[in-house]
């Protein structure tokens, strides 16, 4: 079966972000960018399915600016067979991305689509669910294990309070949680080989899709700073402060 895996270019998770002085957005000039960590887990899962002989082809896709092709090349180096870039310089919110991905699903007809559960920039946690809705597929969100059983996909989901297992009728959408797998690093020969793998570029217009959003970003501001307090010298002093100063324990 064919597996489609979506990836997003985001700020590297180690970078400390700065808000622009005019409050219009976060400042991304000259900031190190990388593949969203949850998308790395998605690519890894797709590649493992291929290595197990379950998947026959892994297609990586992204929606974003030209520079996002770097992340597609990373996916190719990690083991994806080919890539599709839906190029847009606009600010694409979750619904727009899901609409573009739905068109790619229509063209490619994958049996399984894997996405990260959330991107670490917008922290939305929406695109996979929206894609499932738009394509009429079931969704296995926050997955910590997936298993293909004939026409059915069993997904173990991380839910508040524990784990839930659901059975989904294929084709289906899965979004990855942290414990699904541990992504590998790309090896140098694979990075070289990835440069020669096919990468198609499409525009939202060519797909016949409108990626504009009903949301306006009014402003972005830094959060209220929390001031550090004091160091205490002993457990006794700590208990005393909590009882008599902070009054949070009896």
């Amino acid at each position: 079966m064919k597996v489609l895996v979506a990836v997003k270019r985001v700020i590297d998770y180690n970078v400390k972000i700065r808000v622009k002085p005019d409050g219009s957005d976060v400042d991304l000039t000259n900031v190190k960018m990388a593949m969203n960590p949850f998308c790395e887990i998605a690519v890894e899962e797709a590649v493992r399915l291929k290595e197990q002989g379950v998947a026959t082809e892994v297609v990586a896709v992204t929606v974003g600016p030209k520079a996002a092709q770097e992340q597609l090349r990373t996916a190719l180096a990690l083991g994806a067979d080919r890539a599709i870039h839906v190029e847009s310089d606009e600010r694409v919110e979750s619904l727009g991305a899901a609409k573009a991905l739905a068109k790619v699903v229509e063209k490619e007809a994958p049996q399984l689509v894997i996405l990260g559960k959330q991107a670490i920039d917008s922290d939305n946690n929406q695109t996979g669910q929206m894609l499932a809705a738009l394509t009429g597929m079931p969704q296995g969100t926050f997955a910590s294990a997936v298993e293909v059983e004939g026409e059915t996909l069993k997904v173990v989901r991380e839910i508040d309070g524990g784990l839930q297992t659901v059975a989904l009728k294929l084709p289906a959408v899965v979004t990855t949680d942290l414990r699904l797998n541990e992504p590998r690093y790309a090896k140098l020969p694979d990075i070289m080989k990835a440069k020669k793998k096919p990468l198609d570029v499409l525009t939202p217009a060519e797909l016949g899709v409108e990626v504009a959003s009903g949301l306006t970003l009014v402003k972005v501001e830094p959060p209220a700073e929390r001031q550090g307090g004091v160091k205490v010298g002993s457990v006794d002093e700590l208990v005393d402060k909590l009882k008599n100063e902070a009054k949070v324990i009896a």
Partner: protein, 308 residues
């Protein structure tokens, strides 16, 4: 305006989060209905009817909603949404699963995890793990919103809303429930606890987390963990506090052997009082802690236990 709040419930009980989401609905203003969907909902609907500010509780009692699967629940919400200007749910794993699906089916944006209501169409929400706060305005006719419940104080329970059944013809051929493994604990729920004691990589092993038990019992605390402790396999993921886990804001948060990575701070820095116990005096957690104790946790925790 009219607002529909999707009730959160577990094990036949209305979850506390619902009272917080109703508070967010009150901040938006308008008539508030609560939808309770599931199976055998009698006592849950009664509890929802007591929430202040709720006009009507709508009950969709059917086997198809028994396990809160996203596909039928979103279809149910789609069938009701035309009566409302806003649909709200807690930013729980249920709310996050279902509401984006509803939004896409209605061709509108979804606004995730709001922490403040500026007006009926403008909201504040954290981005970049809480390192920036975005103000977003929705131009959509229907606003679909998940709410960070710790950011809104719960409404009181002195109301008396009417309760009526929803006649929903929803079926589900796409997904089915296989099973679940829920952590059994006598402790308070992590998201609602007044005190949280969390362990990090410094705990060293899952076995060592047991030394937190007695302190947690004495304080009536829930036990949490950092992502590093979850990644190391010490404890299950449902204990994770942080950007990718649970967001908590208790009166007292005690971080034990936690260095204070950005993504962990995103999950707990709105706590009223933060205590950090760590042997590394340079650990970033001390920059947000009200009280820091530089000590070996394996000595400090038993001592703390003996003095509580």
């Amino acid at each position: 305006m009219s607002i529909l709040v999707l009730a959160e419930h577990h094990d036949g009980q209305l979850a506390d989060a619902t009272a917080h989401v109703v508070a967010a609905a009150q901040a938006i203003g308008g008539d508030i209905d609560v939808l309770v969907a599931g199976q055998d909902l009698g006592s849950i609907a009664e509890a929802a009817a007591k929430l202040d500010g709720v006009a009507r509780v709508r009950v969709a009692d059917s086997e198809v909603f028994a396990h809160q699967l996203a596909e039928p629940l979103a279809d149910l919400l789609v069938s009701l949404a035309d009566d409302y200007s806003h649909v709200l749910a807690a930013a729980s794993t249920t709310g996050k699963n279902v509401l984006p699906r509803l939004a896409a089916l209605k061709d509108v944006a979804q606004i995730s995890e709001i922490i403040a209501v500026e007006s009926a169409d403008t909201f504040k929400r954290p981005i970049y793990a809480g390192n920036a706060i975005a103000t977003v305005q929705s131009g959509d006719a229907l606003k679909v919103i998940t709410v960070r419940s710790t950011a809104f104080d719960a409404v009181a329970q002195e109301g008396s809303a009417s309760v009526e059944a929803v006649d929903a013809a929803v079926d589900n051929a796409l997904s089915s429930f296989v099973g679940e493994e829920l952590a059994k604990s006598d402790r308070p729920e992590l998201g609602a606890a007044r005190v949280v004691v969390s362990g990090g990589r410094g705990m060293g092993s899952g076995e060592n987390f047991k030394i937190l038990d007695s302190v947690a019992d004495k304080l009536g605390a829930a036990i949490g963990a950092s992502r590093a402790a979850v990644d190391a396999g010490f404890v299950p993921n449902d204990m994770q506090v942080g950007q990718t886990g649970k967001i908590v804001a208790p009166d007292l948060y005690i971080a034990v052997g936690i260095s204070g990575a950005i993504q962990h701070l995103a999950g707990m820095k709105d706590s009223k009082v933060i205590v950090a116990i760590n042997k590394d005096e340079e650990a970033p957690i001390f920059q947000v802690a009200d009280y820091g104790l530089v000590a070996d946790l394996f000595e400090a925790i038993p001592e703390l236990d003996s003095k509580l």
